[in-house]
């Protein structure tokens, strides 16, 4: 009768144990359980395009002085005039710029030169918001 198990040499056993330990440590890399943190992923720059639909108000879209203001956290406000826009506005209804890794709550506000009651600086809409995830 042959034994059911083959005997394993001691050297082979040590190698196997080391390999298992290495695997175990590697598997803990995702965090939790007191494992070793992986090296941080360096933030990377991405080209982001944000666009929106044209408003229906003539004071925004047709009359002089209308346009949109794009607010991105950490950035200077971007003004896109309907008549006459420049970078980073790629049109009156879109901006394109580079953002680093992160989550940005971007707001777009429409404005016009038509003074609301009591105002001498035109009118503004309430802002519309879109979250932008930059990986």
């Amino acid at each position: 009768m042959k034994p059911l198990f083959r005997s394993i040499p001691t050297t082979d056993l040590r190698i196997a144990l080391l390999a298992c330990l290495a695997l175990l440590l590697h598997g803990c890399g995702g965090g939790g359980g007191g494992g070793v943190a992986p090296p941080p992923v360096p933030p990377t720059a991405h080209l982001v395009t944000i666009s929106w639909a044209a408003n229906h108000e003539r004071a925004v879209e047709i009359d002089p002085g209308g346009g949109y203001i794009v607010n991105i956290p950490g950035q200077a406000p971007i003004t896109c005039l309907v008549t006459g826009f420049g970078a980073p506005c790629t049109s009156a209804h879109s901006v394109q710029l580079t953002l680093m890794t992160g989550v940005y709550n971007v707001t777009v506000t429409a404005f016009s030169a038509l003074n609301a009651p009591g105002s001498t600086t035109g009118s503004r809409s309430a802002p519309s918001t879109i979250p932008v995830l930059v990986p």
Binding site: S51, R58, G86, V106, T109, P117, S125, I130
Partner: protein, 627 residues
């Protein structure tokens, strides 16, 4: 140093532009050899975004001027009449603030400024505009009396009004006065389309400027006056040197007649009128009427209007109650479709009018609704029937009897009573008491009978009202008499004081002529007795279509509603691409906060024409792509 100043100026200009502020002027002195930049902010004003006015220093050659212009990519549009000034166009990449900053560093340039935009200040020249506090509240007293029988002036805060407590429409007229691209349907008692202030602003989709769903005619001529007044508030021709002005100086008013001369309408006529308006292109519908019942047929018509992008503006009601309370809703105000705007009435001090309904959940905005002067259908008159003389009685005695009533609060007043022992006695069983008299209604176009009575009747006994064009007994229906009203099972408190039951006005226009007889009847059965009747007033309201320049001063949420409807048309005409929801937002949210409306309406705001026109809806369709 020079370079640093230029950079600073550019940075400041860019910062101002980014923050949304506008640089109004940027001038800098000449003659020192270096640019001494003086920037000052004045109240900003719209300017042409891609143009500038530039003044070159004296002695700068044409070639040097061209070089300065070319350095920024600008092109010369014209030379102004003032020495040294040039009108230039900026390249697309350069905004006005940036260009101003750049020219600040140009040694050839003495001054530069935006090409500001101005507007004509619009005030209409209509002769009675001074009485239209709703459009221009100067604190004036409104003294133009209502036509006979159509009400009284609202005394509270008349004067003093609140200066500028109005629709804020004069600054809005700087931007738009012509709403004629938007059809506004007045679903009401009709419109006198021949009124001088309305004729030019009527819808011409058919020969009669609309449609009638009452009176067996398709002609929407107004035989009440209410609809003509509503139409004038929306679109009486403005700046035509006569009469009044509407919210819109030019308009397209569709007359949709759904109410009879007495102002009565039904589910069927109202729904038919709304459906007609929608299917014939109306984009705003004014509904200055209401009732307490949720009416599925009317609601369906409003839903159909919503599907077609049509705004419905409805009156809050004139009972002075909370529409949110379960017992006192008012429809169509209380319908919840998103295309409905419900309007309460404000007085001359922008207080909620005492009669105006309200509701923090159902009434949206307020608008002027007291002492409103505008167009009327013709000449109104009131014929008061004498109650103590002129009657024919059947039987000649023992039934209806002339009498005089007075108590501590009531001066001696002629009344007509049955039984003769009223209020202390009881009427007879099995009686048919009639009283009638002849009224001359020659030459009028409509006649409405109304009145008041103290009534105590058991079930099975009745008080009836009738007319007959040929004269004689109006209860002889076989001879042409028509019974137009019947009441039973009522118990009005007996005097003193003299409490009365108001009789619903009824249209008796078929009785027009010289021999019209009107009558009252007490008809009782064989059992049971009560105190009977005291007729305390009976009058006939007439309207004669004999004056195309007639006007009237009325109060009610009926009058507040067309102010909002007119502003809705104004916004829709100004922003033709707007959806109905965007216009509704502009009317509601573009209004200004009014303390008297806080907690009384959904917005706490009064309609503000400029605010509505200037209102900007939040941008839509935001998307982002990341590469």
């Amino acid at each position: 140093m020079k370079t640093r100043k230029l950079i600073m100026a550019r940075a400041f200009a860019l910062a101002l532009a980014a923050s949304g502020l506008l640089i109004a002027t940027l001038g800098f002195s000449s003659g020192t050899g270096t640019n001494q930049i003086a920037m000052k902010n004045v109240p900003s004003q719209p300017y042409v975004p891609d143009e500038l006015l530039v003044k070159f220093k004296a002695g700068v050659s044409i070639a040097s001027q061209a070089q300065s212009l070319a350095s920024l990519g600008t092109t010369k549009l014209a030379t102004l009449s003032q020495p040294g000034w040039t009108h230039v166009k900026l390249p697309a990449s350069l905004g006005v603030p940036q260009a101003l900053a750049a020219y600040a560093g140009d040694a050839n340039v003495e001054a530069a400024q935006p090409n500001y935009i101005y507007h004509l200040t619009a005030v209409p020249n209509d002769t009675n505009y001074v009485q239209q506090w709703a459009l221009n509240n100067t604190g004036q007293a409104i003294t133009t009396a209502p036509q006979p029988g159509t009400g009284t002036l609202y005394p509270t805060n008349n004067p003093p009004g609140t200066s500028r407590g109005d629709l804020d429409i004069q600054p809005a007229w700087d931007h738009i006065t012509d709403c004629s691209s938007v059809i506004v349907a007045v679903v009401d008692s009709g419109v006198n389309y021949n009124n001088t202030d309305l004729a030019a602003n009527m819808w011409n989709g058919n020969a009669t400027h609309g449609m009638s769903f009452v009176g067996g005619t398709t002609d929407p001529m107004d035989l009440n006056g209410h609809g003509t007044h509503v139409a004038g508030i929306i679109g009486a021709a403005g700046n035509n040197g006569t009469g009044t002005t509407g919210v819109c100086w030019k308009a397209t008013i569709m007359a949709v007649r759904v109410a009879d001369p007495a102002g009565s309408l039904t589910s069927a006529t109202a729904a038919a009128g709304i459906d007609f308006a929608v299917s014939n292109g109306a984009k705003v519908i004014n509904l200055s009427f209401g009732g307490p019942a949720f009416d599925p047929v009317l609601s369906n018509s409003i839903s159909n209007a919503q599907l077609k992008g049509v705004i419905v503006v409805a009156a809050a009601g004139n009972e002075g109650v909370n529409n949110d309370a379960g017992a006192t809703p008012t429809y169509p105000c209380n319908y919840t479709q998103a295309n409905v705007i419900c309007v309460a009435a404000l007085d001359q001090a922008f207080q909620l009018a005492s009669f105006s309904n309200y509701g923090a959940l159902s009434v949206d905005v307020g608008a002027p609704g007291t002492n409103i002067l505008n167009t009327w259908a013709g000449t109104s008159a009131q014929i008061v029937a004498p109650l103590n003389t002129g009657w024919t009685f059947s039987p000649p005695s023992g039934g209806w009897t002339p009498a005089t009533y007075s108590d501590a609060t009531t001066p001696p007043t002629p009344i007509l009573i049955d039984p003769p022992t009223w209020p202390g006695g009881l009427y007879n069983n099995g009686t048919d008491d009639r009283a009638y008299q002849t009224v001359n209604l020659t030459g009028v176009n409509s006649a409405v009978l109304s009145g008041a009575a103290n009534i105590n009747l058991l079930a099975g006994d009745s008080f009836n009202v009738a007319y007959r064009a040929a004269g004689g007994d109006p209860f002889d229906t076989l001879a042409g008499g028509t019974v137009v009203g019947s009441l039973t099972n009522l118990a009005t408190p007996l005097p003193p004081p003299l409490a009365v039951w108001l009789l619903t006005p009824v249209d008796i226009s078929p009785c027009i002529g010289a021999t019209c007889s009107i009558g009252v009847q007490l008809l009782t059965n064989a059992s049971g007795q009560a105190a009977g009747l005291a007729l305390t007033s009976a009058d006939i309201q007439t309207l004669t279509l004999n004056n195309p320049t007639s006007e009237n001063t009325l109060k009610g949420t009926s009058m507040a509603t067309p102010h909002a409807a007119g502003v809705a048309a104004m916004v829709m005409a100004y922003n033709p691409a707007d959806t109905y929801q965007e216009v509704v937002n502009a009317v509601k949210l573009g209004g200004r906060a009014v303390a008297a409306l806080a907690g009384k309406t959904t917005t706490g705001r009064a309609v503000d024409a400029l605010g509505a026109v200037a209102y900007i809806n939040p941008p839509t369709g935001l998307s982002a792509s990341v590469q």
